[in-house]
């Protein structure tokens, strides 16, 4: 066994151990931290699988967005570690749930193990048609050209998620701002961190988005890093979350999917197919769409994390 194989086996074992720990952890907070650690380890795994695009997504979403969301939620639940619904669970129900989980895991494992050695793949066709898009990164080509309708709908789902979160607000808070008011004097350590980090993070986020056309990266990863920068500035109480009724915010939330959809419809007229790109114009068009998508993702994710409005709207 070579050193590389030994490393891979060790890494896989570590991932498995942390996953198991997360499942059996004593309480929500411990499980959440385990899950954040698990996500970081997964980015290492994706690097080993040479899936750098996925590693970037895992890093940006796992440490930035979902890490903050879940740790915040777990810390909030600390006072009420067991809910009445949880207490009402009998041993039999738990056993049944565990059985169902095992069944799903076994089914997934069976699917993976029973795959033919040469799995069904569209990769050669994608690589063959890649030059027509003018892009160098096949992942971006698949996302924004070959299955663009899917990608557009995914962004619609994110916007629907924000609508869902906002709808949890009490009636009198509807249209108000989520989170706490801007502090008179922000906590100095966190404020300094945000002041220094946010501009650097903006550069990195834009770079990751822009480089995605030809190298690993893309709108989602770049947008997630930009989103994290807005989140840290809000966490440091240097700015307030915007009011949910703000027109610019609503516009920013739909800009990405709207531009994407408009490009798709225009393709039906100009290029002879819904979501078809006119030959030669594919790359600039894709980058144009991605710019708006990055912007929308950078606005949507912090709104999901900030939660429902909790203050009465100012008018």
């Amino acid at each position: 066994m070579s050193v590389l194989q030994a490393l891979d086996v060790g890494l896989a074992f570590l991932v498995f151990a942390v996953a198991a720990w997360t499942v059996f952890a004593p309480g929500p907070f411990a499980a959440t931290v385990g899950y954040v650690v698990y996500g970081l380890l997964l980015s290492l795994v994706w690097i080993r699988l040479f899936a750098v695009d996925v590693a970037l997504t895992e890093a940006a979403i796992g440490s930035g967005v979902t890490g903050v969301l879940l740790i915040g939620a777990a810390a909030r639940l600390r006072g009420a570690e067991t809910t009445p619904a949880e207490e009402a669970l009998t041993g039999l129900t738990r056993l049944f749930a565990a059985g169902l989980c095992l069944l799903v895991a076994a089914a997934l494992a069976a699917v993976v193990l029973l795959l033919p050695d040469q799995g069904p793949t569209l990769a050669p066709q994608s690589m063959e048609r890649l030059p027509e898009t003018g892009l160098g990164n096949p992942v971006t080509a698949v996302l924004i050209a070959f299955r663009s309708f899917d990608t557009m709908l995914e962004k619609v789902v994110l916007v629907l998620g924000v609508v869902g979160v906002w709808s949890l607000a009490a009636d009198r808070y509807w249209g108000g701002a989520p989170g706490e008011a801007r502090a008179e004097r922000p906590e100095p350590t966190l404020a300094f961190f945000a002041q220094v980090l946010a501009p650097i993070g903006i550069l990195v986020g834009v770079h990751v988005f822009w480089v995605g056309a030809d190298e690993p990266g893309g709108a989602f990863q770049g947008g997630a890093i930009l989103a994290a920068m807005w989140m840290i500035v809000m966490m440091a109480r240097l700015t307030e979350a915007p009011q949910a009724s703000a027109f610019w915010l609503r516009l920013a939330l739909i800009a990405g999917p709207a531009v994407f959809l408009a490009a798709g419809v225009a393709g039906a007229v100009v290029a002879g197919g819904f979501f078809a790109y006119p030959p030669g114009l594919a790359k600039p068009l894709i980058l144009f769409i991605e710019t708006f998508m990055t912007f929308t993702i950078a606005v949507t994710l912090p709104m999901l994390v900030a939660g429902p409005p909790r203050r009465e709207p100012r008018r």
């Binding site: 931290v33 890490g67 810390a75 966490m235 429902p308």
Partner: protein
């Protein structure tokens, strides 16, 4: 040389794993929070070593992203603890 780099990456992952056993178990949530910090620093170190050994492209950006976001979990941890003194506006009240 690349075997050496991979072996050191493995050694760091191993020490990180041993540290994780210690702090994920607590006793306090602050100890657990350190696990995220430990895996952040150790993970970036082994990431850079693996990248140098295998020559995977674009890993710099992943390391950069992880470095930028390394303190976010701790920030969320202290931030969620901060407003506990204020009364939490309870949306259930005004139905």
């Amino acid at each position: 040389m690349s075997d050496f780099l991979l072996a050191t990456a493995g050694a760091i992952l191993f020490t990180v794993a041993v540290g994780l056993v210690r702090i994920l178990g607590g006793p306090g949530d602050a100890d657990r929070m350190m696990a995220a910090q430990l895996i952040g620093t150790g993970g970036i170190a082994s990431l850079l070593l693996i990248a140098a050994a295998t020559g995977a492209r674009g890993v710099d950006d992943v390391a950069l992203g992880l470095a930028i976001l390394a303190a976010f979990a701790s920030a969320a941890f202290v931030n969620s603890g901060a407003p506990a003194e204020e009364p939490d506006p309870n949306p259930a009240d005004d139905r």
